[in-house]
């Protein structure tokens, strides 16, 4: 660890409880634990070699040998990531995937069926042409918005290209090329959002559901299977207003949640839990997702015209069969860590100003981890903080 320095392009962002680093050169964000944060501060203050080891060891009350070993490991990792420089570290490998700009549609893949339809959302008409099963899936989510007589203002196409990749074209211009269907869905959603909210300036887009109560927005971020859509459905039945599912779009500068009220996708294992509140689910249209046939709870069309709602609470749900419901306050850093580990988007390129604005919004909100096995208990716990 001779002569190690923090890289000039790396900034520590303002959040307590851990270390959040922004690398402007690679447009990447990294979350590390609190002990890594202390090591980083010592390094940034110019400590190195034995001085670094001894100060770190003395602060934590650990043997110097242990400190030396642990510091060597994290410095080697930081070196590989390009977060620090020093004679022992080669230049960091590129972390970002190379982009592609050439559209070359693979003719062999063009035999799939095309789903083509036109929707009108908030007065804006958009034509979709999406190939394969993916098209049928997306169409089922937008079904209640279809308007075949409308003259489209924008055309959105998804086509297969070479290999497993698909390309999204907006009015003929390539927007993204990827083999990751999650990215593709996100790009389609975002394109639609930008058309129905022209001139919007994004703060962040989070994977999750969102509801509102008396003007306060509750974000329910979480990966697929965490129980967020089912919890959102139960909260709606308890009188909350519906804001979004699958994607929580926060607008700059103050992080207001924009309405994105796609039908709530209730998976087979959850239908019983909300059957009493939603008897219509038994006959609701189905939707193929993650290998199962979910049922769609379709919100009223007026939900698309709802006003943006200020983010006040982030509640990270985790369904665990048989578990007693527990709601635990978590730090803003813990919330950021969970968001980074799932799906969050800060735009391209990521800017320090945008991430800092998001952290400020997060610091002004209250974050909780919710574990639940029974929906009624979960709703009661959410009500304790939101009402």
């Amino acid at each position: 660890m001779r002569g190690v320095h923090v890289s000039a392009s790396v900034r520590r962002l303002p959040i307590e409880g851990g270390l959040l680093l922004f690398d402007a050169s690679g447009n990447n964000l990294f979350a590390f634990n609190e002990t890594a944060g202390h090591a980083w501060d010592l390094l940034a203050a110019g400590r190195c070699d034995e001085e670094l080891v001894n100060e770190f060891a003395a602060w934590w009350g650990i043997p110097a040998a242990r400190a030396g070993s642990d510091l060597s490991a994290i410095l080697a990792q930081w070196g590989r990531l390009g977060l620090v420089t020093g004679p022992d570290f080669a230049s960091a490998p590129a972390l970002v995937r190379p982009g592609s700009t050439q559209v070359s549609v693979a003719q062999s893949c063009r035999s799939q069926s095309i789903s083509a339809w036109t929707c009108t959302i908030r007065g804006i008409s958009i034509a979709f042409a999406i190939e394969g099963q993916f098209g049928q899936t997306i169409r089922s989510l937008f079904q209640q918005l279809e308007n075949p007589d409308a003259v489209p203002e924008t055309r959105l196409e998804v086509r297969p290209v070479a290999g497993d990749e698909m390309v999204l074209l907006t009015d003929g211009t390539e927007r993204i090329r990827t083999a990751d269907s999650g990215q593709l869905v996100g790009a389609v959603y975002q394109t639609v959002l930008e058309r129905i909210h022209p001139g919007i300036n994004w703060l962040a887009i989070i994977h999750g559901a969102a509801v509102a109560h008396r003007g306060a927005g509750l974000a329910l971020p979480g990966p697929s299977g965490s129980g967020k859509s089912t919890l959102a459905a139960a909260l709606l039945a308890a009188g909350y207003d519906y804001l979004a599912d699958d994607m929580i779009a926060l607008a700059a500068p103050d992080g207001a949640i924009l309405p994105w009220p796609l039908p709530l996708s209730i998976k087979p294992g959850s239908i019983t839990a909300v059957a009493a509140q939603y008897p219509e689910l038994a006959e609701a249209p189905s939707y193929r997702t993650k290998g199962v046939d979910a049922r769609l709870l379709i919100p009223p069309m007026t939900a698309w015209d709802a006003a943006p709602t200020s983010l006040r609470f982030l509640i990270f749900p985790r369904f665990s069969a048989g578990a007693s419901a527990e709601l635990r306050r978590i730090s803003a850093f813990e919330a950021v860590k969970q968001l980074l580990a799932d799906r969050i988007w800060f735009g391209y390129p990521i800017t320090e100003a945008r991430v800092t604005a998001f952290l400020n919004r997060l610091n002004d909100s209250a974050a909780y981890a919710l574990t639940y096995g029974e929906l009624g208990q979960a709703v009661r716990l959410v009500e304790q903080v939101a009402r």
């Binding site: 851990g18 590390f32 650990i62 642990d70 990792q77 975002q190 969050i344 391209y348």
Partner: protein
């Protein structure tokens, strides 16, 4: 590399005699209990494509 023991009073996790413990020693014990090796918890790699998104 010098020894930590030379920089102050020894701090052991097994110390049970907390009566009369001064604040500095109490804080040092709390830090020691919280110690975990520095580690990465999560990362967000930027997409090298304008407007790319990363959620499912």
């Amino acid at each position: 590399m010098s020894s930590v023991e030379n920089t102050g009073p020894p701090v052991r996790p097994g110390d049970q005699d907390t009566d009369g413990m001064d604040e500095a020693r109490r804080a040092a014990l709390l830090r020691l209990a919280k110690y975990t090796a520095p580690a990465m918890l999560a990362l967000l790699l930027s997409e090298n494509a304008a407007h790319a998104t990363t959620f499912a």
